[in-house]
């Protein structure tokens, strides 16, 4: 039985949102789990790399930015990104993990990643539907909203804008996500003329669950989702789901068929009631009934996809240094991470097998040139010695001119033979090379 190191997100120890997938993996693999807390308060734990060396496959759940590290160690790597966390990353982020296999719960990400030439498999999760007799009814209209992200506009003010006096009451689960603050100019306790019942997180989740069980109109609480357990569970109960028109909502909700999508252009919504609402709710429930069958039927193919992840061919001499650098730049913010990617175009070119210019101007669907770069292990000592002794290579200048050499902790002559010459880098400072060094 192959062994997998499952690398998840620290918050999943509380939410357990990856648990269903771990259970699936355990059908066929032996699992070693680690849930990484977010930096920068938590520096990267290098012992993780030692644990990775003892497994057959690394599976990264939402930690896609770490993929190059494990690929650089020569470990087959599966990446399971989430739209809500990774949608804004540039193409170079995905190209950096070109030798990984991707498993996507989001069609949009799946297609983007595939278009770059990466191997990606679409997953379409559905929860268990309730029995039809337990499907919610629409004798009255009973909406619920969990204000997880009031700062993103998903609050009672929005409900009032969209629905106005079409509803008279609503349940608000007043529990913003950790770190999320209530926006200025939007009174938290304002009821907008509705009869509002409220819950908050306490010692038990039961008050929220009871309120949810009594509702039949569900406002999806976030603009976008990675999978969307909340709204999927609502559909599984046959609720009328109202969701922002972004993935993954708009990959499960067909507008006015099995739910309702809205966006910033929507100034009001005519909320269906009674029979009309029941039709939408029924379609939502039916979608989950059929979808669940397809999800369960797809599991063997998913396991085969993961189990067949190939061994990467483009390895790195010092993945530890890369791991620390990537971790720190990622948690310093999106600008820092983007700058890191821009500064390491040559490394990404190597890891992706694509020409440098293709990495920096990656265009969907284009067939990129392959750079025939040897693995660094194929560079012989004789070649390195010959270059050093030739008198044509200035090692001190090279290491000063190209900071990524120090990052990789490599002999500068070895670096030049491995990748530098393919990037057109000069061997020493000349009139032209001073300009070239500045350009790259």
């Amino acid at each position: 039985m192959k062994k997998i190191l499952f690398v998840g997100h620290g918050m999943h120890t509380e939410t357990a949102s990856s648990r269903f997938f771990e259970i699936i993996l355990e059908k066929q693999f032996q699992l070693d789990r680690v849930y990484l807390p977010d930096g920068p308060d938590h520096p990267f734990d290098l012992s993780l790399l030692e644990r990775a060396r003892g497994v057959d496959i690394v599976v990264l759940w939402q930690r896609d930015f770490l993929a190059p590290v494990f690929l650089g160690m020569g470990i087959p790597t599966v990446v399971i990104p989430m739209y809500d966390g990774s949608a804004l990353f540039p193409d170079s982020h995905w190209l950096f993990a070109a030798e990984a296999r991707f498993a996507n719960f989001c069609l949009y990400l799946n297609e983007r990643i595939r278009a770059l030439g990466n191997a990606s498999h679409i997953l379409r999760y559905f929860p268990e539907p309730v029995p039809e007799a337990q499907r919610v009814r629409f004798d009255t209209t009973r909406p619920i909203i969990w204000t997880r992200r009031p700062n993103e506009g998903l609050n009672l003010q929005l409900v009032h804008k969209l629905l106005g006096s079409q509803i008279t009451s609503i349940h608000v689960h007043d529990a913003p996500d950790p770190g999320v603050s209530w926006p200025a100019g939007c009174p938290r306790d304002e009821s907008f003329g509705y009869t509002v019942t409220r819950t908050q997180w306490g010692q038990s989740k039961q008050p929220y669950l009871d309120a949810l069980a009594g509702a039949n109109v569900y406002f999806a609480p976030r603009l976008a989702e990675g999978i969307g357990m909340g709204f999927l569970e609502a559909m599984a109960h046959g609720m009328l789901v109202l969701a922002w028109d972004l993935p993954t909502h708009n990959e499960y909700v067909a507008n006015w068929i099995n739910g309702i999508l809205y966006d910033a252009n929507c100034s009001e919504l005519h909320l269906p009631t009674g029979e009309a609402a029941d039709r939408l709710g029924y379609q939502a429930w039916r979608t989950v009934v059929e979808g669940r069958k397809n999800w369960e039927a797809s599991i063997p193919a998913i396991l085969e996809w993961i189990g067949g992840t190939p061994v990467p061919t483009r390895t790195l001499p010092n993945p530890e240094a890369l791991a620390v650098e990537i971790w720190n730049s990622f948690f310093a913010g999106i600008d820092s991470y983007n700058a890191f990617l821009e500064d390491h175009g040559d490394l990404i070119a190597y890891m992706s097998g694509k020409a440098h210019r293709r990495v920096t101007s990656a265009v969907h669907g284009e067939i990129a040139d392959q750079v025939a770069v040897k693995s660094f292990t194929q560079i012989s000592r004789d070649e390195i010695a010959e270059l050093r002794e030739s008198g044509r290579f200035d090692a001190d200048w090279y290491i000063r001119a190209f900071p990524d050499v120090a990052l990789l902790n490599m002999d500068p002559a070895a670096h030049y033979l491995w990748i530098g010459k393919h990037m057109g880098r000069p061997k020493r400072a000349t009139q032209q090379s001073r300009g070239a060094a500045q350009a790259v």
């Binding site: 069609l107 949009y108 297609e111 983007r112 595939r114 278009a115 993935p247 708009n250 990959e251 499960y252 909700v253 067909a254 507008n255 068929i257 099995n258 039709r279 029924y282 379609q283 039916r286 979608t287 059929e290 979808g291 969907h364 669907g365």
Partner: protein
């Protein structure tokens, strides 16, 4: 009976699609009309694919601007100062080589299953050589795709085609012309002033068994991966059917756009994907996958744009009739006439009518659909075979 028929297609360069399929179809069918059918495609057709399909690789690729499969260094027309002269010259040279290599002469034939512009022009410039070789018959089958692909060299490509055809006729060449649909045959006949027969695909396969009676009704849109084939109306069709089929009995299968187009239409793809009961396949499928689509589908839907397909046929239509699957098409397409004339399905005035038709077909017993398909198939191929008998008479 001809001795040899060279089935020529310079556009047979990709490892998928109707050009490749047509080579196989005609190699099998023309055995009745000759002793030796010879399939000839592009020099750049994949070697393994060519070997598997018994296709000789002879033609230069002069259509790289339309079908960009070659790098610039390999494109024989890259940098050409006179594309018309060079493309004509290249295909003329290729055809002369073919005549020589395969000893094509009196009692033989050149057969173009989907004739292309530069082949017509080349033929129009080699009358002397053809006559010297005993005037082999030349069969030009027009399907409305590449015969006007002149890469902008002429103000009116079809006018140049007409001119070349008239030159060939005037030179006394044994030229025989057909078109894929009745509408196109009539149009060409008026344009060229000669008799033009209608030659859809011949029988391309056996009638498939009926799909089993079940609750599920499968609707397929094979080859949907293009805007002119109705890709962008599929969401409306599927969504409206779904509104009237809350039990989700009716299931849909389509092919997404090619990668270079797909990434620009991801929002639309998501909308298709979200409609319950829709399955989306890649834009390119191998023959086994396409065969399975026909085997498992109850209805084939082709919402092709009428103004583009006013004269053009549809390979899917001909295949569906051969395999025994009912069809829906929009009014105004040339193949709609064939569907209507032979009772091979239903022609719909617009998208709402197409939605209604899908619902009606889904309520029709599958045995009834099968009986209709058997009858349509029989009548269609009686006429098709008669047409080919007349056209290919030696």
């Amino acid at each position: 009976m001809f001795a040899k028929i060279a089935i020529c297609d310079p556009v047979c360069i990709q490892s998928f699609g109707h050009n490749l399929n047509a080579q196989s179809y005609y190699r099998n069918y023309l055995k009745v009309f000759c002793e030796l059918p010879i399939c000839i495609g592009s020099k750049h057709l994949d070697q393994a694919v060519a070997a598997g399909h018994e296709i000789h690789r002879s033609f230069s690729h002069v259509y790289n601007r339309d079908i960009p499969v070659l790098d610039k260094v390999d494109d024989p027309l890259f940098g050409s100062a006179d594309v018309s002269r060079d493309a004509t010259r290249l295909l003329r040279e290729d055809l002369l080589e073919i005549l020589s290599t395969f000893s094509i002469g009196a009692g033989d034939a050149l057969f173009f299953p989907s004739v292309d512009f530069w082949s017509i022009r080349a033929l129009g410039h080699m009358g002397d050589e053809l006559l010297a070789r005993g005037n082999p018959a030349i069969f030009l089958r027009f399907i409305g795709v590449m015969e006007s692909a002149d890469q902008g060299c002429f103000l009116d490509a079809m006018a140049e085609v007409v001119r070349c055809v008239r030159v060939m006729l005037a030179e006394g060449l044994d030229l025989r012309i057909s078109a894929e649909t009745p509408a196109y045959a009539k149009h060409l006949s008026e344009l060229l002033g000669v008799r033009v027969l209608t030659t859809p695909y011949p029988e391309v396969g056996e009638m498939l068994p009926a799909t089993p009676e079940s609750e599920i009704f499968r609707v397929a849109c094979p080859g949907s991966a293009r805007g002119d084939k109705g890709y962008f109306v599929l969401r409306d069709i599927f969504a409206n059917v779904r509104l009237h089929d809350p039990e989700q009995r009716i299931r849909f299968l389509l092919q997404r756009l090619p990668e270079r187009d797909n990434v620009h239409h991801l929002k639309y793809l998501s909308q298709l994907y979200a409609v319950p009961g829709v399955s989306i396949l890649p834009s390119v499928l191998d023959k086994a996958d396409i065969d399975r689509i026909y085997l498992e589908s109850d209805l084939i839907v082709l919402p092709y744009e009428a103004h583009i397909y006013k004269l053009r046929g549809s390979a899917v239509t001909m295949e569906s009739i051969a395999y025994g699957r009912p069809l829906l098409a929009l009014e105004g397409t040339a193949f709609a006439e064939q569907i209507s004339d032979y009772g091979a399905g239903q022609v719909c005035a617009d998208i709402p009518a197409m939605v209604d038709a899908i619902l009606n077909f889904s309520r029709t017993p599958k045995s009834t659909l099968q009986e209709n398909c058997i009858r349509a198939r029989r009548d269609f191929f009686i006429d098709v075979n008669a047409s080919y008998q007349e056209w290919l008479a030696a």
